[in-house]
Homo-oligomer: 279 residues x 2
C-alpha cells in the first residue's frame, strides 16, 4: 500500500492511499480519516462510505464534512473509489455517466468485458476491510457502512448480505430497488446479464423480500427536492418491503434538499453519530 | 445578477451567482450562503472570505465547512473569485500559479496590461458589498472579512484600510508582508510596478507601521507544518508590527497543520464564531 498524501485535519489524519487490488486486478485509490482517539492506542470502529455515480474517493473526502463528527465520536472513515480504473478497464461504449468508469454499482460483473475488473462487491466486502484493518487501528468487529445514491445501494446490499460483518447500516438517497428503475436496469443488465434472477442479490428490496435482514435498524435520509427521487430512487419501495418484513427502517424525508453534497454534508454528522451509537 | 445554482444546505441556501462587474470589466462569479435565520426577516451580518492562489469561489464553497457554523450563528458567507477571468484578461506570460489568473492579490493594478481588469481591491471593497447588500438580507453595518494565504493578505489589507467598513477581521495562514517575500515581490511588482512606495498600501505590516488600525482585534491561525511558512508567510513580522503598534493580535500556531483546506476547514468554525461575537 502506497501513501499518496497525509494531512492533519480536525485533530486527526486524513490520508490518501493506493494499492494493487487483487479483487479488481487494478490499482485502487481510497482515503482514510483516522481521528485523534487513535493516539490513545486501542482499536476504533470504522465506517465505510460508498460514493455515487461519477465520484472517486475524492468527492466525499473533500466535501462530505465528516471529519469533525468522526473526531468527536472516535470513528475511522474509509472512502473507496466507485469502480476500477486504468489502462485496459472497459468503459461504457458511449462514455455514459451511469455505467462503466465511476459506476461500478458494487457488483462482481459476470459479463465480458466487464468481468475482468469490475469486482467491486468483493473489493468492498472482503479486500478493502482486510487491507485497512492491517494498516490502521480498526476493530474488525465494529464495522459500519453507509453510502450515497449508487453507494447507498451498495451499502444496503452489502449490509443486508453480511450483517455479521457490517454491524450498522445507513444510506443517503439510495437506489433501493435497481431491478425496478432505469439506472439499475442498465447497470445490472450490463454487468450481470439479462437473466434477472441474478439481480436479486444486488437489490435491497429483493434481498429483504428473500429473507435477508440487517444487523440492526436502518437509517435513510432522502431530500424531497431530489431530481432522481421519483424515477430512480423510490425509497417508498424500501419502506414497504421493510414494513412487510418487520425490518426497523427510519426514512427521513428532508424538505427542500436535492441530490448533491449540500444534502449529504448537512446530514453527515447525524449519520456518524448514529453509527457511533451502534458500534 | 444571474443565479447559476441554488441548493439547500444546513437549513439555509447556498447559491452561486454571476454578474457583469464594473470594477473588473469582466463577468465575476461568487457564492453566497444564507443561513436559515434569514427566514425570520431582518438583516444579518455577513462574512467575506477571500481565497488564496489558484482558487475560484468554488474551493472554499465546497471544502470550507463553514455552513454549519454560519447556520448556528446566523451569518451570511460570501466567497468571491480571486481574479478577473475571461477573454481578454491578461495572464502571467508563463502561466505561473502565483500571478495573473487566480492570483489577483486584491489590488488595483496600475501596470499594463493588467490595469485593464485586475481591479480586485475596488471589487472587494466597494462593488461586491454593495451588490450583495442589494440582493441578500445583509446589514451593511455588520460586515466582517477573512481569507486564506493570498486571501488572508487581502483580508488584512482591506480590514486595516477600511475599519469602518469591515468590523471584524481574521485570517488563515496569511501573507502578512508581501513587500518582504517572493510571492509579494512578484505580484506587487507585476501589478503596481517597481516603485515600492506604492506597495505599502497593500502590505499589512507596512499598513500597521504607517498608522492604520483594524476595527478591533485580529485572529490569525497558522499551521506549523505549512510548507510556505518560513519563506512566504512569516507571521512573526505581523506579530512584531502589532506589538509595536499596540494592535490586539492573536496568532495561534496550530501544531501539525499544513496550508490546505484540511487546515482551513478545521478552524473555520472557530473563525465564524469569533466574527459572530464581534458583529
Amino acid at each position: 500500500m502506497e501513501t499518496l498524501s497525509t494531512s492533519k485535519a480536525h485533530g486527526g489524519t486524513l490520508g490518501v492511499y493506493r494499492h494493487a487490488s487483487s479483487a479488481t486486478d487494478t490499482d485502487m485509490t481510497f482515503s482514510v480519516f483516522v481521528p485523534p482517539q487513535a493516539e490513545e492506542g486501542g482499536k476504533l470502529p470504522v465506517l465505510f462510505y460508498l460514493s455515487g455515480l461519477t465520484c472517486t474517493h475524492a468527492n466525499v473526502t473533500d466535501k462530505g464534512e465528516y471529519r469533525r463528527a468522526c473526531a468527536e465520536h472516535g470513528i475511522i472513515f474509509v472512502a473507496p473509489d466507485t469502480s476500477p480504473r486504468g489502462e485496459g478497464v472497459a468503459d461504457d461504449p458511449e462514455g455514459a455517466y451511469d455505467f462503466g468508469l465511476g459506476a461500478g454499482f458494487y457488483v462482481n460483473a459476470t459479463v465480458s468485458p466487464f468481468a475482468a475488473h469490475y469486482r467491486m462487491w468483493d473489493y468492498i466486502a472482503e479486500e478493502l476491510p482486510a487491507l485497512v484493518a492491517a494498516h490502521f487501528p480498526i476493530d474488525p468487529a465494529r464495522m459500519g457502512i453507509t453510502g450515497h445514491s449508487m453507494g447507498g445501494h451498495g451499502a444496503l446490499t452489502l449490509g443486508l448480505t453480511y450483517p455479521d460483518r457490517f454491524r450498522s447500516l445507513s444510506a443517503f438517497a439510495p437506489i433501493v430497488a435497481p431491478g425496478q428503475v432505469p439506472w439499475g436496469h442498465k447497470a445490472l443488465g450490463g454487468y450481470l446479464g439479462e437473466d434477472r434472477t441474478g439481480w436479486r442479490s444486488h437489490d435491497a428490496v429483493a434481498l429483504i423480500e428473500d429473507g435477508h435482514r440487517p444487523a440492526g435498524d436502518i437509517l435513510v435520509d432522502q431530500g424531497d427536492a431530489d431530481s432522481f427521487l421519483a424515477e430512480q430512487l423510490r425509497p417508498q419501495l424500501l419502506c414497504e418491503a421493510a414494513d412487510r418484513a418487520g425490518v426497523d427502517l427510519t426514512l427521513r424525508m428532508q424538505p427542500g434538499y436535492d441530490h448533491s453534497y449540500n444534502f449529504i454534508s448537512t446530514f453527515m454528522a447525524d449519520h456518524i453519530r448514529w453509527h457511533a451509537e451502534r458500534l
